[in-house]
Amino acid sequence: MDVICLGLSHATAHVELRERFAVPASELSRATLRLGSVRAIDEAVILSTCNRVEFYAAAERAEDGFDGILQFLGENFGLCGGDRSIFYRYDAPLSIRHLFRVVCGLESMVLGETEIFGQVKKAYGAASAGGMTARHLNKLFQRAFRVAKEVRSGTSITRGPVSVGSVAVDLAEKIFGELASRKVMILGAGEAGEQTARALFSRGAKSILVSNRSHDRAAGLAAELGGRAIHFDEWDREFHDLDIVISSTAAPHPILTREKLAPVMAGRKNRPLFAIDLAVPRDIDPAVNSLEGVFLYDIDSLQAIARNSIELRRQELSVCEKMIERHVADFSGWLAGAMAPMAAGS
């Protein structure tokens, strides 16, 4: 028995191709059942995310297994002969190593991201619930989850924020702790500001104020985020009890200066202010960072932190790979042992 993987991912195929073979979550169980019913395939799991579509199978012979998956793709997704080369194909031990790397987030677009762990669990859960997994794939996937947990806890591969939004959220939590009771203001209803606000919102920030030169746009975004719109000439009146300000207006000069903020900070009684300036040219005078309790980050500094986190994650890659290799060797040994009696019998 061999364990095989056939698939395509963000690294090998454009989105147009990936979406052609994507399996919606609602169809996953049925699709797995259909794949498992192909003659050459004994066990099957389908992993379909926005970045990859992969078919894992246990088959007597790897080549028959690959043919079986391609036959399934032809019947269900209209795969023609010429398209066969777009898929990567792995048999053991490459397939084992590949799955372990995928679950650990080493094959993800954002190195070390953890969402993939849950997606693989769901894929395996759907196959397992439909009776499409048995001895080989059960053991393989359970080992993969174990490897991922080990890698996550033993290395810094998931450490540090890697996008502007997540950097902002992490910084906010390092300043305030819980964000649930924090008041956030968005100045300028641009996309960058909105995304950052949404990231804060997803971590519990409740009270959101939106101010924009066009009040209608501010009102629209405020309604979407469950916040309150305020007129653009009134935004500075709210500063006395504000915790986080995200600014991304199109103003040609700084709209928040040290002179304007200093008296406000004096009256806030040690309450810090986290100022996120996403605008170019900048909305907030860099000198405000020298005020006690004010922490100013512009777009460059947020991006630099994200890049630094990615670099730190890259440095952890070799440690992760060593951990994975140990498990690949161990699992390959088990698989070879499991295959030996079958080979002797055939």
Partner: protein, 262 residues
């Protein structure tokens, strides 16, 4: 000999120190439970040492600088074990164990454990004064630890250069609150200790004068913060500097009081 208990306790704190250094260097996740158990073991051994010493002396073991340093380390760890989990400042332990280690290593390495003095009969008020004052110093020591953490975190946030330790440290608002509460706790205890000291009616000596100076120093800072809102950064800086000054004074008092018990 009770030193093996103290050496074992110091070793526990040394393990905590090694773990802190490793964590800060590599940026790997801090095993909070490891730290808690290292500190808890160190505390139990410290307690056993102090109990054994107190039993042998027939009084509170605060008769020389060696015992004062161990008692100070014990007070700091005790306060950490009480407030650390309550304020979710488990990482405070990562910085507490190095300070406890340094205090005890200094006490052991400098051979401060001099021969027993000829002391007057134990006076419960003096012992209470000394014990409460040293526990107050423990609170000030822990405030100093929180101050160092606050300053480290604040500096990284201001300069935007985030080191791996940044993600390990608690939020600065939590550190500022812990720092302030520890200062108030220490000040309250020191006030009680001074009252107990004055209740004896003994004339003002070097130790009482020094305790009074420390009381005025911390009291002045807390008053200034209450009235004029000094700001958490200056309070954190004060906590570190005042604790350093206090330790220097302790050394000075020991020198000045020569062979007299503390």
């Amino acid at each position: 000999m009770d030193h093996p208990l103290l050496i074992a306790s110091t070793f526990c704190f040394f393990l905590g120190l090694c773990h802190t250094l490793y964590t800060l260097r590599t940026g790997s996740r801090l095993a909070v439970s490891f730290h808690f158990y290292a500190i808890a073991c160190g505390f139990l051994l410290q307690s056993a040492f102090l109990f054994s010493r107190g039993h042998a002396l027939g009084r509170c073991p605060l008769t020389n600088l060696f015992e004062v340093l161990v008692f100070l380390s014990w007070s700091m760890v005790l306060l950490y074990l009480v407030i650390g989990p309550a304020y979710r400042l488990s990482l405070l332990g990562a910085f507490t164990s190095p300070l406890a280690f340094l205090l005890q290593l200094f006490a052991l390495a400098m051979r401060l454990d001099s021969a027993p003095y000829k002391r007057p009969a134990p006076n419960p008020w003096i012992e209470l004064h000394a014990a409460i004052s040293v526990v107050a110093c423990g609170a000030f020591a822990l405030a100093g630890v929180a101050g160092v953490m606050y300053l480290a975190q604040e500096r990284q946030l201001k300069t935007r250069r985030l080191r791996p330790m940044f993600f390990q440290l608690p939020p600065i608002t939590a550190l500022a609150v812990a720092n302030s509460r520890l200062l108030w706790t220490g000040f309250g205890l020191l006030t009680a200790g001074l009252l107990a000291g004055f209740a004896v009616g003994r004339p003002l000596d070097w130790e009482k004068a020094a305790a009074l100076c420390v009381w005025l120093l911390y009291g002045g800072m807390l008053l200034a913060d209450t009235r004029h809102n000094v700001g958490p950064r200056k309070v954190a800086l004060f906590s570190v500097l005042a604790f350093t000054l206090m330790m220097s004074m302790l050394w000075g008092i020991n020198f000045l009081s020569e062979q007299r018990p503390l």
